[in-house]
């Protein structure tokens, strides 16, 4: 089963992301976002990695998803850090706690793709369809 699929949008980038659990859904969303930002050219033996802890508390799931992506986007746009691995991700109601491993962008190993200006609220939706979670996200690029 695909983790995410891009859907048509005239100017920006719209994506549907999926997961069997909220944890999977949020992971898919992060992977989708980084697939817009960069593409891996080749693997490297050792990477400059950094541990980052993310804690978020929002009123609704949509805002929690946006806050999670915003945090990752902030590290990417200020320090050019790319998601390497999610070490832990716990979502309890509308609270999130995560430990992520980020790696530094290096033009030899990554190709830069689109700049994402922001994760928008436009048509942002998180829903449970039968036993599966689905979210719709539009990135302003």
């Amino acid at each position: 089963m695909k983790r995410f699929v891009f859907v048509e949008h005239t100017a920006d980038i719209a994506v549907l992301v999926y997961g069997g659990s909220l944890k999977e859904l949020f992971t898919s969303a992060a992977l989708a976002m980084f697939s817009v930002l960069v593409a891996k050219k080749k693997n490297r033996a050792t990477s400059a990695l950094r541990d980052v802890v993310i804690q978020k508390d929002e009123e609704i799931l949509e805002d929690l998803l946006k806050a999670w992506l915003d945090e990752l986007l902030f590290h990417f746009s200020t320090e050019h850090l790319i998601l390497h691995r999610i070490k832990a991700l716990n979502i309890d109601g509308t609270t999130l706690e995560a430990k992520v491993l980020l790696e530094t962008f290096d033009g030899e190993y990554f190709e830069s793709k689109n700049e994402i200006k922001a994760v928008t609220y436009h048509e942002l939706k998180v829903e449970r369809i039968r036993n599966r979670w689905q979210a719709r996200i539009i990135f302003d690029v």
């Binding site: 100017a11 902030f74 746009s77 436009h122 048509e123 690029v141």
Partner: protein
């Protein structure tokens, strides 16, 4: 693709279409779209018209919710959307009516050079520009600003660059708001926004931002062309960029605050991205103070980019930029909210005018114009795609009467980025551009493909509508010969 928009659209004349406010409960004014039949067919293919309807819900909106001919689906407001709210009547300001890229805009620089002078050195010129003007991910500005400098930039805009020697005071005279809008408050800008903007002064960015070397290929009005010192074959430079990460973060921060304002001020809008607050509320004032700071950052950014461009031209053509005649014609914002006075039903009102992907186009004699453009009207710069044309126009009295002195901002997309990637091949595109005599360089292949000419409406058709509808007058048309993308 989604289904064609099936709402109510009444033809007023060949260039004007009305969505009556009876179309949807909650609309406070009509929607008014400027387009011809051909453009309208494409406009109906996405959700732009429904967004015009949504904008008509904003408290205090006056006149109509406007759509320019380059309108397309955005977030909250459509791109190419214009809305003015009456401040006295509780009119709101909406960060979604400005967009994430606050004061994204364009500047146009003339030169004394002709295509004949530039053609033999074109490849050197384009690679010189590409190597000097930071673009794409990870690019950091050579022009470094400390935190103290950043605060000064947010207050003084382009004035900061000029003080540093990156330009002259004459540049400020021909920049909208003199390159620094009043009422900016650096304290209203979050630490995160500073962080995101820190290393990006003097960087182009990516997406649809560009730097182009262009040639004047058509003149429409000899008197106006003379007023701007323009002739056929003359080389120009156009720069399209905005407030970079700083502006994106200011918008994002404000949206979070304004989402809470929807309940607080009892504002009913159909899209959360239209979160807003009364202009006179604490939240509204705080947003406008931060937005103006970001706008100043953007004007300074374009000033720095122009400086870098002048330096490259000086190296390639072994002459000073003054001798090369590289004078700024004008710099306009096309993502901004401004407090302006306009006449509504014969009465002068203080309005908050949102222009999201729309350009101010003040007519002759307007007090906001510099002395040299009082007779011509405000220069309006409309970039097209990298394979076709761009335009210089001037604002009109009719725009003052109908659209709060506003016109279109570009060609407007027609294909999604994915569709462009599916249908355009990178090497084919470079060949196609080369055949037209255009040298293009981009840090990302994806960006170039996504921005391919076929992804855009024909800017000639868009400009034809605003000219024919009287929202701006054509002065000159340019075609690109050198393109730098992020």
């Amino acid at each position: 693709m989604i289904d064609l928009w099936k709402g109510v659209l009444e033809k007023i004349d060949d260039y004007r279409w009305r969505i009556p406010k009876s179309y949807k409960k909650g609309m406070r004014v009509d929607g008014l779209i400027y387009a011809d039949e051909k453009l309208l067919k494409d406009i109906k293919k996405d959700k732009a018209l429904e967004q015009v309807v949504n904008v008509a819900f904003l408290p205090g909106i006056v006149g109509a919710s406007l759509g320019m001919p380059d309108i397309h689906w955005g977030y909250g407001f459509p791109i190419g959307g214009v809305a003015a709210t009456d401040i006295e009547k509780g009119g709101v300001v909406s960060p979604g009516g400005v967009g994430f890229d606050i004061n994204c805009g364009v500047r146009l620089v003339r030169t004394h050079l002709t295509e004949k002078d530039v053609r033999p050195r074109l490849k050197d010129l384009v690679s010189g520009l590409f190597n000097t003007v930071p673009a794409g991910l990870g690019s950091e500005g050579e022009i470094r600003a400390t935190i103290k400098d950043e605060k000064e930039i947010l207050l003084k805009g382009s004035g900061w660059a000029v003080k540093k020697g990156y330009g002259v005071s004459d540049d400020l005279d021909v920049t909208e708001e003199g390159g620094a809008i009043e009422g900016a408050d650096p304290e209203a800008v979050s630490l995160r926004a500073y962080e995101r903007g820190k290393t990006q002064s003097g960087t182009l960015g990516s997406g649809n931002h560009f730097l182009e070397v262009q040639v004047v290929d058509q003149l429409y009005d000899r008197d106006l062309a003379d007023a701007f010192n323009l002739d056929l074959g003359q080389v120009m430079v156009m720069i399209h960029s905005g407030s970079r990460g700083l502006g994106y973060q200011v918008c994002d921060d404000s949206l979070r605050v304004m989402l809470k304002c929807l309940a607080k001020y009892n504002i009913n809008v159909p899209d959360r991205q239209l979160a807003s607050a009364p202009v006179e509320s604490l939240e509204g004032k705080a947003y406008l103070s931060a937005m103006r700071a970001a706008a100043n950052y953007a004007w300074n950014n374009r000033q720095c980019l122009m400086h870098l461009t002048r330096v490259v031209f000086e190296k390639i053509f072994c002459s000073s930029w003054e001798k090369l005649g590289m004078f700024l014609i004008y710099d306009v914002a096309h993502n901004i909210a401004k407090i302006e006075r306009h006449r509504i039903l014969g009465k002068e009102k203080l309005l908050c005018v949102h222009r999201k992907g729309a350009t101010r186009a003040f007519g002759p004699g307007h007090p906001a114009l510099p002395e040299r453009y009082k007779k011509t009207g405000q220069p309006v710069i409309i970039p097209g795609d990298m394979g076709r044309n761009s335009y210089l126009l001037v604002g009109t009295e009719r725009a003052m009467e109908e659209t709060f002195g506003t016109t279109c901002h570009g060609a407007g997309r027609i294909k999604s980025r994915h569709e462009a990637k599916r249908s355009v091949d990178y090497r084919e595109l470079l060949k196609e551009l080369e055949a037209k005599g255009i040298v293009a360089m981009a840090t990302s292949h994806d960006t170039l493909v996504e921005e391919a000419p076929s992804a855009y409406k024909d800017v000639n058709e868009v400009v034809d509508v605003v000219h024919s509808a009287g929202l701006a007058r054509r002065v000159a048309r340019m075609r690109p010969i050198g393109v730098i993308k992020g």
